[in-house]
Amino acid sequence: MVDQGSANLDTLENDQPLLVAQSLSKSFGRIAACRDVSFALYPGEVLAIVGESGSGKSTLLQMLSGQLAPSGGHVSYRMRDGVTRDLTTLGEAERRFLFRTDWGFVHQDPAQGLRMAVSAGANVGERLMAVGWNHYGRIRETASDWLTRVEIDVARIDDAPRTYSGGMRQRLQIARNLVTEPRLVFMDEPTGGLDVSVQARLLDLVRSLVAELHLAVIIVTHDLAVARLLSHRVMVMKGGRVIETGLTDQVLDDPREPYTQLLVSSILPP
């Protein structure tokens, strides 16, 4: 009979969601930026949120990552100790701790996620110090390892990221986020400001790191090619609502909603 391969990828651990959004809504005055969004994200799962600017995808990301209080609904997260907590019940210190340890956030503009005036090594090492590392040699060694993993020449470890190119800055931001081995990383248009050739390299890198580290990722992008390459599942947003959701290749190859068909048909052939 046929060997069906190892079954260890469906362990019980993976059958519990890591993050659950329930009926999330956000209004700014009379404007509803985000309406009634619900989903569950599992460990190791990559979810892409796609849509044009103004569709509410960034507002949603802000709420999911606890940076913006929802007008309605809840976000809950299963902490490392296995206890699921509602994000709104976390204190500011707890939320910050989560951000330093179990979460990462990759901004479109690396300057928002890095300290531009301190060295690359310090940018990476800082996250380790925040979780209690204090041995200078080990911090530097781990920082060097991570620079290598994101394909930055270790000879540049003492240079500040303002001397780096856009692509290098973005890779450094990724190293800074991943060094504490988070379980969940939020990404906001991570390839947005980059040249096409630089984008491809970054996407490859992110794709292999995500698989290697078994990361869960919520990525906001307007680029369907990015969604196709990186994500397992996609949510299409329009006017603050999720209008279509499903397996990424299914939604992109067999789009059902008029707006999704428009988005898919607007991709230039490669």
Binding site: M1, V2, D3, Q4, G5, S6, A7, N8, L9, D10, Y42, E45, A200, R201, L203, D204, R207, A211, L229, H232, R233, G246, L247, D249, Q250, D253, D254, R256, E257, P258, Q261, L262, S265
Partner: protein, 232 residues
């Protein structure tokens, strides 16, 4: 014997919202099953919906109605109603798909493109690469190309990389969409051999093959897709 694939009354229509909402019926009443160790070839003229049926079995196209029964780890699962996570699990451990074209990831080396399905199922990288090398060798991809990404290869070479990637896993179901289309006679013969080996291992296969000679060599049964024509 229990069927590995059990499709019942499946139907597919495309609604083209950008073209004024016109409906394009593709297939209806699609019903057939595939047992372990056999290769069912879908036949019918171009546009009859053969590829669409294959994509429905893989979960790439949705089903409007009907059932796509897949035997996954001993239980029958309706893929048409499965959650995305379950479909991904089924693809990882039950259904392989050899598409007509390789959708390559930009910078990944050929050997890793081929080895990847084994690695995601937990095989050590070195072992997976060794098996990938054997298959690439059988499919006449010279070793000097293995470390290069396949993006710059010729159409035929890319298709052989794609075939190697599709045949490397020990999955119990394999879907083949024109696996021999741009191959020369020698490589077509290798594919015929690979299909025969899969049959001996008990793999259930569904294939689309236009070449009469190849169809003759691999088909245990033929399902005529014209009988599922959706247009009245």
């Amino acid at each position: 014997m229990t069927a590995m694939i059990d499709v019942a009354d499946a139907r597919k229509t495309f609604t083209m919202h950008l073209q004024g909402g016109i409906e394009l019926p593709v297939v209806r009443g699609v019903t057939f099953h595939v047992y372990p160790g056999e290769c069912v070839v879908l036949s019918g003229p171009s546009g009859a919906g053969k590829s669409s049926i294959l994509k429905m079995i893989f979960g790439n196209y949705r089903c409007d109605s009907g059932r796509i029964g897949i035997r996954h780890r001993g239980a029958l699962v309706d893929l048409a109603a499965a959650e995305p996570r379950q479909i991904l699990n089924i693809r990882r451990s039950t259904i392989g798909y050899v598409s007509q074209f390789l959708r390559a990831v930009p910078r990944v080396a050929t050997i890793d493109v081929v080895a990847e399905p084994l690695i995601v199922n937990g095989m050590a990288r070195a072992d997976a690469q060794a098996r990938a090398g054997e298959l690439l060798h059988r499919l006449n991809i010279p070793e000097r190309l293995w470390q290069l990404p396949p993006a710059t290869f010729s159409g035929g070479e890319q298709q052989r990389v794609n075939i190697a990637r599709g045949f490397i896993s020990d999955l119990p179901i394999l879907l083949l969409d024109e696996p021999t289309a741009s191959l020369d006679a020698a490589n077509r013969a290798v594919v015929v051999e690979l299909v025969a080996e899969k049959k001996r291992q008990g793999v259930a296969m569904v294939a689309i093959v236009h070449d009469d000679e190849i169809r003759h060599l691999i088909a245990d049964r033929i399902v005529d897709v014209a009988s599922f024509a959706a247009a009245a």
